[in-house]
Symmetry: C2
Subunit: 209 residues, 2 copies
């Protein structure tokens, strides 16, 4: 089951981390069983949608008894390949890069920044936490040697595409970008964006003029 | 129409900024007309869903002719109350706060950080761009005097709830939080989260073990 099933809609996959987050919160608060109705109410998703989403991956509960929180959490972690630690390259050692490198939640949840790159000679050699900032010139070697698959881009918009190109050429398969531009990458590479605008615009709907 | 319609599902509202982002890209590339099928293909949303979402707010296109890009963009901006400039308070002047304050995309799209607060006496008085960092003690006064409705939280997890409490007590109605914890606020306050974990976990599904 842990190998990705290509016929599963991306929108379904995108909901799995939300389910996992809710299950983590439930597990930490000591809940042992949750119904699709309760889970749905927490997430604003219909119970039918939750059951359908999970049915792509197997049978995780019996009709009428709800899901076992710890079991479903483990299964979701397996499906999302979170049963292992992920090593991540970070491009950009400015304010944003520093903040990301020191983000408590990433390490706790299995994503460890193991290498940091910047093009600025002023930043190269600095330490962020216990990681030295390395030259962008070394990126291809380090990424290949450590067989890194994931990277985070935290450089300004005008340098983000170049960073993505270097990452992709070095073998990176998944990029999380904080830069406010759309990146062009091959279909074989996953890209996701952190975009505060989308969240702000969703709130102004409710705030009124 | 610009006043929020309370019977519209939150999930529909959450898609409007995505439509707007695509329309901005289309407008910038000179496109004048787009069908729901083309817009759907860009976003991974069915054309029927797009037509249904937009129908909550009015008639924006004729069957078979597609949507006028600039007209639909203006209408969405009105619906989302983006026909005005939004002033935003920022709490946290650390690495992350500095990065957010200098994020190019926010100002361009109508969100201007106008006040920055921190509890650290070392940071108070510093300038970020042209904005001085002020003491958290001044937050209630500044937020009320400037009638701010939106705030961004960029403090560590263990200070985020306290920041949210002060913001809510001062009249803030919408909070975007970068801290990796769930905030407790009254139902009348909107909260959204920037959560890199969700995006990373979605990618590891595709990366395999």
């Amino acid at each position: 089951m842990p190998s990705p099933l290509s016929n599963i809609p991306a929108i379904v996959v995108a909901r799995l981390p939300l389910y996992l987050r809710s299950l983590n919160i439930l597990a930490e608060s000591g809940s042992t069983v949750i119904s699709s109705a309760e889970l749905g109410a927490r997430l604003g998703i219909t119970p039918a949608q939750i059951r359908k989403d999970l049915s792509f991956f197997g049978e995780f509960g019996k009709q009428g008894t709800g899901y076992d929180v710890l079991y479903l959490r483990e299964q979701l972690k397996n499906i999302l390949h979170l049963d292992q630690q992920w090593s991540v390259a970070l491009v950009g050692a400015g304010d944003l890069g520093r903040a990301i490198a020191q983000h408590g939640g990433l390490g706790e949840r299995g994503f460890r920044i193991v290498a940091i790159f910047d093009q600025s000679t002023e930043k190269i050699g600095e330490q962020i936490g216990d990681i030295p900032v390395e030259s962008m010139d070394l990126l291809p070697i380090v990424v290949r040697r450590r067989q890194l698959q994931l990277a985070i881009i935290a450089v300004p918009a005008n340098r983000a595409q170049r960073a993505a190109d270097v990452l992709v050429a070095s073998g990176i398969k998944g990029i999380l970008s904080y830069a406010p531009i759309r990146l062009h990458v091959p279909d074989t590479v996953q890209v996701r964006y952190i975009d505060p605008l989308i969240a702000l615009q969703e709130m102004t709907y409710y705030l009124g003029g």
